[in-house]
């Protein structure tokens, strides 16, 4: 009798729920399952973002290949012009990497690509002294490829030390490059070979991937994550820590903490990152994530994000000398404070847009008592 009652009750509830139709559909499937883009705007946005990522991955690989080709042509001792040219090529390679890194969604779709960035770049990762390791390898006499056995010794960070020393003047660098039968130049090629292999993996992924453009929710999440990550690292690691604004080094500025202090190219790295943010979020002639978010209710926050990106880029343009020189002992140029505040606001706005998109404000069952 009791079971009969429970059964009839459950049946009645089931009928009631079924009768409610879509009003009570289980929305969870939409959230955790496939969410294929359906509108032209969604498809356009995903297609454009894929092209942007592909473009930067290809440019990165090309810049590495080009640099290797330059190195392969050096038969005699390098001239100052040739060393300078390599340094310029380094800047191109490094900024292309920053562009790839700032929009790196590949790890969300291919687990084998999670560690690839750390095989390319060694910033804020552990306590390894890359310069000391590279110098040790250069001081040895055996095969340079074997001497550079550590992965970190074949990264862009290592390459920077090989090409610039510790912000060593050009004429001194020419001597160092030609020393020991151009051992340093050969070391550069070993690092570039590793970088080429890593860049190839990323390029191949973006050329062949179909998953990113297949699920609008996952793609939006991946883009939001990468922008938030990138804005945090820009603000905290790349600006806050060297300038002593970040809590970790509060009141203790040190220009050596800049990402590319040895080459004095940290400002160019920051610019490349912000330009990628602008490609993804900024007002462009094509449909990007920013315009997509704007059309989906985040218009005011997208406008604010665009302004912060433009402001930060404008601030970078105000530096007439490398940003490393804006820190002198404990004295820090006020523009760095403003830059930190601008990127902090940028990161906050990214969070705001993310939270808006997630509609997390839906109350659990009102805010009342009981």
């Amino acid at each position: 009798m009791k079971h009969k009652m429970i059964k009839s009750l459950l049946l009645a509830l089931a009928v009631l729920l079924a009768g409610c139709g879509s009003d009570n559909a289980y929305d969870g499937t939409e959230l955790i399952g496939s969410n294929t883009p359906t509108t032209p705007e969604e498809n356009a946005m995903l297609s454009v973002q894929t092209q942007v990522f592909q473009k930067h991955a290809t440019a990165l690989k090309q810049s590495i290949t080009q640099m290797r080709q330059s190195i392969s042509t050096f038969e005699q001792n390098l001239t100052a012009n040739e060393v300078s040219s390599l340094q310029t090529q380094f800047e191109t390679l490094m900024t292309e990497w920053k562009s790839v890194e700032a929009g790196y969604v590949a790890a969300d779709y291919d687990e084998s690509l999670i560690d690839t960035p750390s095989a390319i770049d060694f910033f804020h990762t552990g306590n390894v002294d890359v310069a000391a390791d590279v110098q040790k390898a250069l001081d040895q006499t055996g095969d340079i490829e074997s001497a550079l056995f550590k992965n970190s010794s074949k990264t862009i960070t290592a390459l920077e030390y090989m090409l610039f020393g510790t912000a060593t003047p050009l004429d001194e660098m020419v001597g160092l490059m030609n020393k020991d039968d151009k051992r340093r130049v050969n070391a550069c090629d070993v690092a570039l070979k590793n970088l080429e292999a890593q860049a190839s993996k990323i390029e191949t992924f973006y050329q062949n991937d179909t998953k990113f453009a297949a699920n609008i929710t996952d793609a939006s999440n991946a883009l939001a994550n990468v922008l938030i990550d990138s804005s945090f690292k820009l603000k905290e690691w790349r600006i806050g820590e060297p300038s002593g604004i970040a809590l970790k080094y509060a009141g203790n500025p040190d220009s050596n903490r800049f990402e590319y202090a040895k080459s004095k190219r940290s400002l160019e790295a920051m610019r490349a990152i912000l330009l990628t943010h602008q490609e993804i979020m900024g007002e462009q002639s094509y449909a990007n994530f920013g315009s997509f978010a704007s059309q989906n209710g985040a218009q005011s926050v997208v406008i604010a994000i665009r302004k912060q990106i433009s402001d930060a880029l404008a601030l970078l343009n105000q530096f007439n000398t490398p940003i490393e020189e804006a820190i002198n002992g404990t004295s820090v140029d006020a523009k760095i404070d403003t830059l930190y505040a601008t990127t902090k606001e940028l990161q906050r706005l990214y969070y705001e847009s993310l939270i808006q998109a997630l509609s997390l404000t839906a109350e659990i069952i009102e805010a009342d008592g009981d």
Partner: protein
């Protein structure tokens, strides 16, 4: 206008009196108590539905809905603000953590469950403080002054209490969400049924609206150790057990913190022992603010 009157509450699934939850409560009552017609008859009698206390509930529901829309919601700190502030705080204080990548089903499922449990726990404690802190009790007694119960009694809550519960919600949902964003990044979301948290939906469907009623629906004893039955909440509204069963959905908090009571079903008397009830809207709003004056 609809929002001001609170009528939209009947069609929104994150509201206690959503029509489906009301119908399911009625169905449960009819099926389970079909052999005890007196119980059903009493709930729908003029004596209960048109009692001065019930009439105050109806007027109060409309008035407090307007107060919430016009005064409380625009001024209250939202969960959004808490989330942004807390995520940035976590990153600045504890540094950057590499995002943990887990399958969406686990991420969404655990988030939905955790936000439900955390919300229930903070409701328990704030509700308990509303009873045990004299200043807060002055406001909460408005709710307990109801001498007869109906689903709208749920909304017979002083605006000050609304503000406190609103802040509690913002802090709870904001903190849980911020922690999830800090560790897992974007991609979190709630499993929902018709727009409400899945667990809230289920809880609301199994008779939440009978909590404020004279229908003593009980769950099996083992279930009542985990989920508070409508009858257990009715005990809380009785003149003798006001300091027991503070929980909302889960009874584990009452069990762990020593305030759970069940026992045999008995006839209950609702309201307050120590005062003559006020059935005026003005009195309900102003008496807690003017302790010595009765309107």
């Amino acid at each position: 206008m609809v929002e001001l009157s609170g009528l939209d509450f009947f069609v929104e699934s994150d509201k206690r009196i959503y029509w489906l939850y009301m119908v399911s409560a009625l169905m449960l009552a009819v099926v389970i108590f079909r052999n005890q017609p007196d119980i059903l008859r009493k709930q729908f009698s003029k004596e209960v539905l048109w009692h001065p206390s019930a009439r105050l509930d109806y007027v109060y529901f409309v008035a407090v809905s307007a107060v919430k829309v016009l005064l409380i919601v625009p001024l209250l700190v939202g969960a959004d603000d808490v989330i942004v502030w807390m995520v940035v705080f976590l990153q600045e204080q504890f540094g950057y953590v590499e995002r943990i990548r887990i399958a969406s089903v686990w991420l969404v499922g655990s988030y939905t469950l955790l936000i439900f449990v955390a919300n229930d726990l903070t409701r328990y404690w704030l509700h308990r403080w509303m009873h045990t802190v004299p200043l807060l009790w002055r406001f909460h007694r408005v709710h307990h002054s109801a001498q007869v119960l109906n689903p709208l009694t749920f909304y017979r809550v002083h605006p000050v209490e609304n503000v406190l519960f609103g802040l509690r919600y913002a802090l709870t949902a904001g903190s849980v969400t911020a922690l999830y964003i800090y560790f897992f990044g974007a991609g979190i979301s709630m499993m929902q049924m018709g727009g409400a948290n899945l667990f809230v939906f289920v809880f609301s469907l199994i008779g939440a609206n009978l909590r404020h009623s004279h229908i003593p629906l009980r769950y099996p004893a083992k279930v009542e150790r985990w989920i508070l039955s409508p009858y257990q909440h009715q005990l809380h509204h009785s003149v003798h057990y006001g300091f027991k069963n503070y929980g909302s959905a889960l009874s584990v908090w009452d069990r762990w913190f020593g305030t759970l009571v069940a026992g045999k079903t008995r006839k209950l008397r609702f309201g307050l022992l120590d005062e003559t009830p006020t059935h005026s809207l003005l009195g309900a709003f102003l008496n807690p603010l003017n302790k010595g004056i009765k309107l």
